[in-house]
């Protein structure tokens, strides 16, 4: 078991957004974390890396507790969060963005070559400022930057958000390929179908709690999942 979360609770002030979540991710898995807007998925990911310090519960990475560690330590547990939205360094070049991703990796120059081979689009734009990339390229850059730290566990928050359909396909293809690298993925998405197609298992969150879990193939045909996603935001979520 790579990641084990037990009864985790997190809050912004008095507002509890993660309410007793337990989940686990095994080595090599791609695990989806689904749910509507405001279900607490992002807050859960932020809690896992220490950006939102949990109030209660346990987080075990390789069986060791990571509770209470500052966010910049999460990478030393080989855990990297790729946050939602344009979280690249807009004023740094693409190359510099990637090198920062390898801040703690002594072989960062070697890794840079590997990542640039993987994302030829980024190699073409290596000298451009990050902020000048298109939304999809920025998402690839965020992914590449995360790989620079050679993570074992990658936490992806809505990687397809706001991307053109073709770019969504490309991003999901890249995520699927992560498996070959031996990277374990916890994937937060609103794009339910695409997520369940590449995931092994998935959890469904609602108002801060896990309401459903199971094999991806099973969930794909689960009427409960369809119900949860045919609400106001559901229609667009189904690709």
């Amino acid at each position: 078991m790579l990641l084990q979360v037990k009864n985790l609770r997190s809050a912004y002030g008095a507002l509890e957004v993660v309410r007793g979540v337990s989940l686990h991710v095994s080595r090599g898995e791609i695990v989806g974390l689904l749910g509507a807007n405001g279900a607490g998925k992002t807050s859960l990911l932020r809690s896992l890396v220490g950006l939102l310090p949990p109030r209660h519960g346990e987080i075990l990475m390789d069986g060791r507790s990571t509770l209470g560690q500052p966010p910049w330590r999460s990478i030393s547990n080989a855990t990297v969060l790729v946050p939602e939205g344009k979280m690249i360094f807009a004023d740094l070049t693409v190359r510099e963005n990637l090198l920062i991703g390898g801040y703690h990796n002594p072989d960062r120059l070697l890794q840079l070559d590997i990542v640039l081979d993987r994302f030829p689009r980024l190699r073409e734009r290596a000298r451009q400022l990050g902020g000048t990339l298109s939304g999809g390229e920025q998402q690839l850059l965020a992914l590449g930057r995360a790989l620079m730290g050679r993570p074992r566990l990658l936490l992806l928050d809505e990687p397809s958000l706001g991307l053109a359909p073709l770019m969504v396909l490309e991003v999901f293809a890249e995520i699927r390929k992560l498996r070959e690298l031996g990277v374990t993925v916890l994937l937060v998405e609103q794009n339910v179908t695409a997520t369940l197609q590449i995931a092994d298992r998935a959890y469904v969150m609602e108002t801060g709690e896990i309401i459903l879990e199971g094999d991806a193939a099973e969930l794909l045909h689960n009427p409960e999942v369809k119900r949860a996603y045919l609400g106001s935001t559901g229609r667009e979520a189904l690709l």
Partner: protein
């Protein structure tokens, strides 16, 4: 021709003073972009640099050692300020932080007054003395001016190389660009913030040493430098370290020519006119981007 060499004389004097403003402005920018704090104690670093170096030189240390040690001491003071005050005072409004830095600058002045009294002091000229001068197209310049310009040019270039081409420098820019993403890459943000204070203080301390033979060192010299350095930083574009160089030189040169035309009482007018004009006309400064750093709320 006479007019021309006078103008050159003013220009040189403007560049000399302007290079000091540039250093203060760079200090403002480094700290602002890494921490969001507008540090009005920046001028005190210049004063402290001069004072510590003078004290060490009087103890009989060679000039180079005295200056080197002064830079290290002032840098340590800068780090200490960050660790003791700003690290604990995050999440306050930018205005609160400004008032805190002004308070700190007063405290530093008072401490300096107690240690070094109110006498005006100076370091000896690095080469030659107060009457030696070099001819330069009909204008006379003190060799010390070359020391000032040389020392500051070298430190600006080194800083640029640090920020552009080293991992720690890039990490510092990453913190300024997106602190949360920088943390997730494993950058220890509080340490980076301390480093930004240490670097700014070291630069200010060095400027205080090289300028001391020309402008003298006095416990009250920091506050006006902070204001002019701030004007220079705003002019160059807040948060852009190299913008501070352009801003500083501009303010210094304008000031030198203003002094030649206006009564002495209007000595500081140029800097304030620049400050107000920029704030009205182009609040993001010459090199800043509209809606970028300058209006970021912390």
């Amino acid at each position: 021709m006479e007019n021309g060499s006078m103008a050159l004389q003013y220009l040189l004097s403007g560049i000399t003073k302007g290079s000091i403003y540039a250093v203060v402005a760079i200090g403002f920018n480094l700290i602002y972009s890494a921490t969001g704090v507008l540090n009005f104690a920046q001028g005190e670093f210049v004063m402290l640099g001069g004072m510590v170096a003078i004290m060490l030189a009087q103890l009989g240390l060679p000039l180079v050692v005295a200056v080197g040690a002064a830079v290290i001491v002032v840098s340590a003071v800068g780090c200490l300020l960050e660790i003791t005050f700003f690290r604990k005072l995050r999440h306050h409004s930018i205005l609160h932080m400004i008032i805190i830095t002004i308070g700190l600058s007063i405290v530093i002045q008072e401490i300096a007054l107690h240690i070094w009294d109110e006498k005006v002091r100076s370091l000896p000229y690095f080469t030659g003395n107060e009457v030696s001068s070099l001819k330069f197209f009909g204008a006379a310049i003190s060799p010390q001016v070359l020391w000032v310009l040389g020392a500051i040019a070298v430190s600006v270039v080194l800083l640029h190389i640090f920020l552009r081409y080293t991992l720690q420098g890039r990490a510092m820019r990453a913190c300024a660009s997106n602190p949360e993403a920088a943390m997730l890459a494993g950058i220890n943000i509080p340490n980076m913030r301390t480093l930004s204070f240490g670097l700014s203080a070291a630069l200010g301390g060095l400027a205080g040493c090289v300028i001391s033979p020309i402008t003298m060192t006095h416990y009250e010299m920091g506050a006006p430098l902070a204001i002019k350095g701030f004007a220079a930083a705003i002019l160059g574009g807040l948060g852009n370290p190299m913008g501070g160089v352009i801003g500083g030189l501009t303010v210094g040169i304008l000031e030198a020519f203003a002094v030649s035309r206006l009564p002495a009482a209007f000595n500081d007018v140029a800097a304030f006119v620049v400050l107000l004009l920029v704030l009205f006309v182009r609040p993001h400064g010459l090199l800043g981007r509209p809606g970028g750093e300058a209006v970021r709320e912390h």
